[in-house]
């Protein structure tokens, strides 16, 4: 189908983007790889699209604790970046699972997080690392921990007038990203993003609920069998067209077993 009619403005500066955001029915356009299909399918009908693609928000900066990555960094850039590969390999690994090459060339880190699709890769990654999301408005900047950012299905802590500007990723000693999909690049049936420091693990699942889900009970266990058992208290995955909730829980346990040795400390 064809998108409905809307106005378009290309923001030349963040200040201009904030001013435009005041207008009724305004929406931010970043890479557009989720927004434009939803326009084409007429699931969204904004009055004004504010294209922030030209704003200087795509830098990958090394920080003391890890990396600060601008919201407009594309999946392809994250996949190829040496800094990301070395300092936040979980993110680099996850980027390879996002859709297909042509989509990875345009889709962005910030766009994926701000949309908060529970089957998407990055929400689970930032949750596992408990990364910090930097939300800017015309007046102020807020820092929100990933575990406080996802509020519900496609719902986040972003307030009207705010733009997700960057994400601060801490380093982790060990990490692993795994995803099951029917074909490469398809929506995940279920996926796992895990990070560990010392004996502490944080294991998050995608495709397992209305938001990315932190498996707190499983993360606390030190033996795989107990962790797999505990997973039923962490996840009540919604069934999709092909997989029942029980199948998804089973597959989550399979991923947990595959990730377990990497996340556990060596004895």
């Amino acid at each position: 189908m064809k998108a409905p009619s809307f106005a378009y403005a290309k923001a030349r500066s963040l200040a201009e983007a904030f001013a435009l955001l005041e207008r009724p029915g305004a929406r931010i356009l970043a890479g557009g790889q989720s927004l434009i299909p939803s326009l084409n399918m007429r699931l969204a009908a904004p009055e004004l699209l504010i294209d922030i693609g030209a704003l200087p928000l795509r830098q990958i900066l090394t920080t003391q604790s890890g990396l600060r990555i601008g919201a407009l960094a594309t999946h392809a850039e994250l996949e190829k970046s040496r800094e990301v590969g070395e300092r936040v390999p979980l993110l680099a690994e996850a980027a390879k699972h996002v859709a297909h090459p042509a989509i990875r060339n345009r889709g962005t880190l910030g766009g994926s997080l701000a949309l908060a699709d529970p089957a998407a890769e990055y929400p689970a990654v930032v949750l596992a690392l408990n990364a910090t999301l930097i939300l800017q408005s015309a007046k102020a900047e807020r820092k929100v921990a990933a575990q406080d950012f996802f509020k519900g299905l496609f719902e986040t802590d972003l307030r009207p007038g705010e733009i997700l500007a960057a994400v601060e990723f801490p380093r982790a000693e060990r990490s692993v990203f795994l995803e099951l999909a029917r074909r490469r690049g398809d929506y995940a049936i279920i996926g796992l993003a895990g990070a560990a420091n010392g004996s502490g693990k944080r294991i998050a699942f995608l495709g397992a609920g209305a938001t990315p889900v932190l498996a707190l009970n499983a993360s606390r266990e030190s033996e795989l069998a107990q962790a797999q058992k505990a997973l039923e208290r962490d996840l009540q995955p919604p069934a999709d067209l092909y997989h029942s909730s029980a199948t998804k829980l089973h597959l989550a346990r399979v991923l947990l077993s595959r990730a377990w040795n990497t996340l556990s400390t060596s004895r």
Binding site: A3, I36, P37, L49, A99
Partner: protein, 163 residues
């Protein structure tokens, strides 16, 4: 804030200026405004890849980019790459292997495959399949397409002959 904007972009080496409505995506623009109907419109929501074009050297989904976003960009379509003979080897391999299936996906397949070939490395069949996974449509198999890409890659300068 306007409902029609003037854009200037380079398409297959030629600079064009047109007034477009923001809702028009790049492939509709290329097909309807410029008559470049080589890029196909399949699903219009980023699933089939038949609309794959190159923008500033990188492949993108033409249906997931607005024409106004291409203002100032360098756009290349299957017609441009065909005329410049960049696709010649790949086209020959597709021809020899009858790698068409229904043919609707072919322009996008060529664009995606050329993206891989331009990296001047050798890829396994698995990696080729992964790279064209965004161009799967409603046929199945894609064996002959993978065969053709593999052969074109082997014939590539700097690549390795196989078999």
């Amino acid at each position: 804030m306007e409902h029609a904007l003037d854009i200037t972009l380079t398409v297959n080496g030629t600079q064009v200026t047109r007034r477009v409505a923001p809702r028009v995506h790049l492939v509709d623009f290329l097909r309807d405004e410029l008559g470049l109907t080589g890029s196909h419109i399949g699903c219009e929501h980023g699933v089939c890849g038949a609309c794959t074009v190159r923008v500033n050297g990188e492949i993108v989904r033409g249906c997931l980019m607005l024409a106004v976003q291409a203002d100032g960009c360098r756009v290349e379509t299957v017609e441009g790459l065909s005329d410049s003979r960049e696709l010649a080897r790949l086209q020959q391999a597709f021809h020899e292997h009858n790698a068409l299936q229904c043919g609707f996906c072919t322009p996008g397949m060529l664009m995606a495959a050329q993206d891989l070939l331009s990296r001047k490395a050798t890829f396994t069949r698995e990696q080729i399949r992964e790279h064209i996974s965004g161009n799967y449509c409603r046929c199945t198999g894609y064996q002959a397409i993978v065969d053709a890409i593999e052969e074109a890659m082997g014939a590539d300068e700097g690549g390795h002959a196989h078999g």
